[in-house]
Symmetry: C2
Subunit: 191 residues, 2 copies
Amino acid sequence: MARVGLTVERLVRAGADLADEVGFDEVTVSALARRFDVKVASLYSHVKSSRDLKTRIALLALEELADLVADALAGRAGKDALVAFANVYRDYAHAHPGRYAAARLDLDPETAAASAGPRHTQLAAAILRGYDIPESEHVPAVRLLGSVVHGYVSLEAGGGFAHSAPDSAETWPRILDALDALLRNWPAAPS
Amino acid sequence: MARVGLTVERLVRAGADLADEVGFDEVTVSALARRFDVKVASLYSHVKSSRDLKTRIALLALEELADLVADALAGRAGKDALVAFANVYRDYAHAHPGRYAAARLDLDPETAAASAGPRHTQLAAAILRGYDIPESEHVPAVRLLGSVVHGYVSLEAGGGFAHSAPDSAETWPRILDALDALLRNWPAAPS
DNA sequence: TAGTTTGCCTAAACACTTTAGGCAGCATAC
DNA sequence: GTATGCTGCCTAAAGTGTTTAGGCAAACTA
């Protein structure tokens, strides 16, 4: 019985690759075992359950994404930063659809709090430093930013823009122009 | 063998209810059979497969939503229409989380084209009539609108805003204010 | 080298999906 | 009012995924 050298890390990484290939919903403990040419039960020493595996893949994706965003934002400000920020998500979703889907998995509150999720919020907030938005409006502005980026990327991934012209790649820069314009002219809060 | 009177319509409606109760991912032919107190195999005369069932639930949800949006938009224009439009989606997602998730199912191109999906696009486009946006910018504007609404609602549903103040219900009106402001001051396309 | 840990195994129970083939309830035709 | 046929729900069975219990051998540790 040759030992293959399974570890949680290897399993999670392979699971993420599998997700990118066949879709996050298709990631299964069985499929992962096949990929390592190992019996299914063997994985259960490393991973508690199918749900646990998926959660770990989600955490990996969130980390990777946060690292990429942090890199992209370094040394940029204003629209430059905004565009870089948004493109990281969109490019990642295209290059790693399974991982991106994983990053959208509903985590339970404690897990979510310990994940890279909050880092994403902070990074988004950092972009606002390049714009003149009152502190009190930062939360809604960050949420809008996240909504637009996630919304566009996810509708695009779901084929929502596939059957109308022009191509979704063409309208994307316009979306960013609009977002930049909005942040430059953020409306005053009503009295 | 008392006949229960299964029909595709009853199954799909019950499936949608089930989705709202336990989550769309948990909707299963078996669970549906249990709900009708009928053997699993019996459902397969009405529904081709589990995938078929889910697709039909998705189509139902898209129809319901489009009808609600159409109703809400009747007799409204400008920001009034925008707010009504966005609220339909958000309220629907809160009241019917499973149906809303179903509406986001990836449909194959032909099915998607025959669904109420295109109606959603048309309804969103109708909102722009209340704003002064050049025809050539309608597509990006509609996509932005859809992205913000879907993005916010889906991040909210995923608990993305759950662990930061203020409550997501409080920032929502500000998001709509911002969206309205953006549509009123849509940036000119770069030369 | 002996003992302990630990990695991967076999075996088995349980759930969901899907197909094949059977029998009985119901509607129609006479 | 009975015969005929369709259809709805059934039983049976095979395939796949999840998960747990318990075993054997490989690899550290002394």
